[in-house]
């Protein structure tokens, strides 16, 4: 049974991708900004909850994402 999912970084609300800061295979540290999501009048920083490698990047700047969409998947 999954606890808090630290691997799939999903959109908490629909929005527009402003910036993508990482590439597939890149090493990231806890707290690193992965993606900037424009939603709820804010450029929300989607940050890495753990130290790991980026497995998938499913968005590019300008993309509209729906709620729950996995923008980045970590290893």
């Amino acid at each position: 049974m999954p606890l808090k999912d630290n691997k799939q970084l999903t959109a908490f609300i629909p929005g527009t991708i402003v910036d993508v800061k990482v590439k597939v295979g890149q090493q990231v540290k806890q707290g690193d900004i992965l993606v900037i999501l424009d939603a709820m009048k804010m450029h929300n920083r989607i940050i890495s909850p753990i130290n790991t490698k980026v497995k998938e990047v499913n968005v590019k700047p300008g993309d509209r994402v729906t709620k729950g969409f996995a923008m980045v998947v970590l290893e």
Partner: protein
């Protein structure tokens, strides 16, 4: 003067009971990475301050082979002592004695110290480490839990009640912590659930470990049942001690006053909040730029991070800070953040702790899941808590204050005593984009270049309404201030409101939406 032999006998009897469950059981407790109940009390309280009562209490069970069985102290230690000189009543369940199981005498010791704490109007700390009801004592165990819950409720709002979960706390037992004001958990040690993994497996076929079901992280991050999370028991005790410095002994006192200290220069209030309302920042830095010595003691740090709650001080006096956190989910209000803040506000109000609210939020979080989770009812808790609170209430609108969120966050309309706004504040019924689209729908759709017209109307709306001056012109905010004046004005507001009178119609009690 009793004879020497009588004193020797007392010493011998004491020594016997002080062993708890004995060497083997104590070693087992240590192997689980846990201190014993007595070690915990000694680590938590001021040196040599603890006095124990009911050391010689014995259980009175006769059935199922209990007759003649010796259970030292009946598996729980009670007494009084102090933390930084403040008097404290404490109980600690002793897992080394019959697994800390709760029988009728065990419960009677706990209720005795609870009665004492209430009568003397001093805080109560309960250390929970128990396998649950003592099955051999049947319904008497259940009666014991009920007596504890009743006293938790009776004492609520009169004395602070702290629950420390240092072992299993399952079944009915978890409701006592849930009724208290603050719950402390420790990684790998705390376990709280109503029905454990075995029952879940047999009834539902679902498999889960104790830790994944109700471990420390689960309650600190997912359920919100815990207020403080620590990696070790010693860290947990430090958290408890720090909390005690911020809260009063009871509801007719103020918290202890400390020597006022200016905030640390590294927290420069002018450099924290970005001009662009779309840029996030950590609102805790604003609190640290305002609070004495930049000391902010956060509560429920790992849960519902879109709202920040905790204690700090202004001019040496304890303040309850409530702040939207733009860094997490844009700082929206939702089911969990409303729940988190409203409980805290009610604690502060009950214990004479003034409230300082920092506002920067886009509004309530839209969504089917939120609506179906009852965001109406949970959001209403926040309105209720702020409206009901009669302690001094100071509000600073840092940036965005839109829609229902503006009203909910300690607005003038809910009887905030002071409402200040920074010059960049945007106080309006909704954001410029949404508002322009609705108000000027006709102009926009009928324009030759609708997109150009839309942008023009958004700008017009922004200029006219996305500022603090419309609200200021109605007196909804008292004054527009520069950021570096914030602390000075809050100190002044606090001074002016120290003799505040807030009359409310008398009633038995209100009916908050919970």
């Amino acid at each position: 003067m009793p004879s020497k032999s009588k004193i020797e006998e007392l010493k011998k009897r004491k020594e016997e009971v002080l062993q708890g469950g004995g060497e083997q059981a104590n070693a087992k407790q240590a192997a689980m990475g846990k201190l014993t109940a007595r070690e915990r009390i000694i680590a938590l309280l001021d040196e040599d301050s603890f006095h124990e009562y009911d050391l010689f209490v014995e259980h009175d069970a006769r059935d199922f082979g209990m007759d003649g069985k010796v259970l030292h102290g009946d598996g729980v230690i009670i007494g009084t002592g102090s933390i930084y000189g403040s008097p404290i009543a404490v109980f600690a369940q002793d897992f080394t004695v019959a697994g800390g199981s709760l029988g009728s005498m065990h419960a009677r010791k706990i209720t005795k110290i609870m009665d004492y704490a209430l009568r003397m109007r001093i805080p109560l700390i309960g250390i929970n480490d128990s396998g649950g009801a003592r099955i051999q004592e049947g319904v008497n165990s259940l009666a014991g839990y009920g007596e504890i819950f009743w006293r938790n409720t009776l004492s609520s709002g009169i004395i602070p009640q702290l629950s420390v979960i240092l072992g299993p706390c399952a079944g009915g037992a978890v409701y006592s912590p849930a009724l208290t004001d603050f719950v402390f958990v420790v990684d790998k040690i705390s376990k709280m659930f109503i029905t454990g993994p075995e029952v879940i497996k047999s009834v539902l076929g679902e498999e889960i470990s104790q830790d994944d079901l109700g471990g420390a992280r689960v309650h600190a991050e997912i359920t919100g049942n815990a207020h403080f999370y620590a990696e070790s028991e010693i860290e947990c005790f430090e958290q408890i001690k720090k909390l005690i410095t911020f809260i009063p002994w009871n509801n007719s006192r103020k918290a202890r006053r400390f020597e006022p200290k200016e905030p640390k220069p590294e927290f420069n209030i002018e450099n924290i909040v970005p001009n662009d309302p779309k840029q996030p920042y950590d609102v805790r830095d604003v609190i640290k730029a305002i609070a004495d010595d930049s000391d902010f003691f956060e509560i429920q740090q790992m849960w519902a991070g879109n709202i920040v709650i905790g204690f700090g001080r202004l001019n040496g006096e304890t303040i309850g800070f409530v702040a939207n956190q733009p860094l997490v989910m844009a700082g929206v209000l939702d089911v969990d953040s409303s729940d988190k803040a409203s409980r805290f506000i009610r604690f502060c109000d009950a214990f004479n702790i003034p409230l300082c609210t920092l506002v920067d939020l886009p509004g309530y979080l839209p969504g089917i899941d939120q609506e179906h989770a009852g965001v109406i009812r949970h959001g209403a808790k926040l309105l209720y808590a702020y409206s009901e609170a009669t302690v001094p209430k100071m509000t600073v609108i840092l940036r965005k204050a839109y829609g229902g969120g503006y009203i909910a966050m300690s607005s003038r309309h809910l009887r905030a005593d002071f409402v200040f706004a920074w010059p960049g504040a945007e106080i309006a019924v909704m954001g410029p984009e949404g508002a322009a689209n609705i108000i000027f729908r006709k102009e926009i759709t009928e324009a030759e270049d609708p997109e150009k017209m839309r942008r023009k109307k958004v700008e017009e709306y922004k200029e006219k309404f996305a500022n603090p001056y419309v609200a200021a012109s109605k007196g909804y905010i008292d004054t527009v201030i520069e950021p570096d004046e914030t602390r000075k004005l809050l100190l002044h507001a606090l001074e002016v409101s120290s003799t505040k009178v807030a009359d409310r119609p008398s009633k038995k009690h209100g009916i908050p939406p919970f």
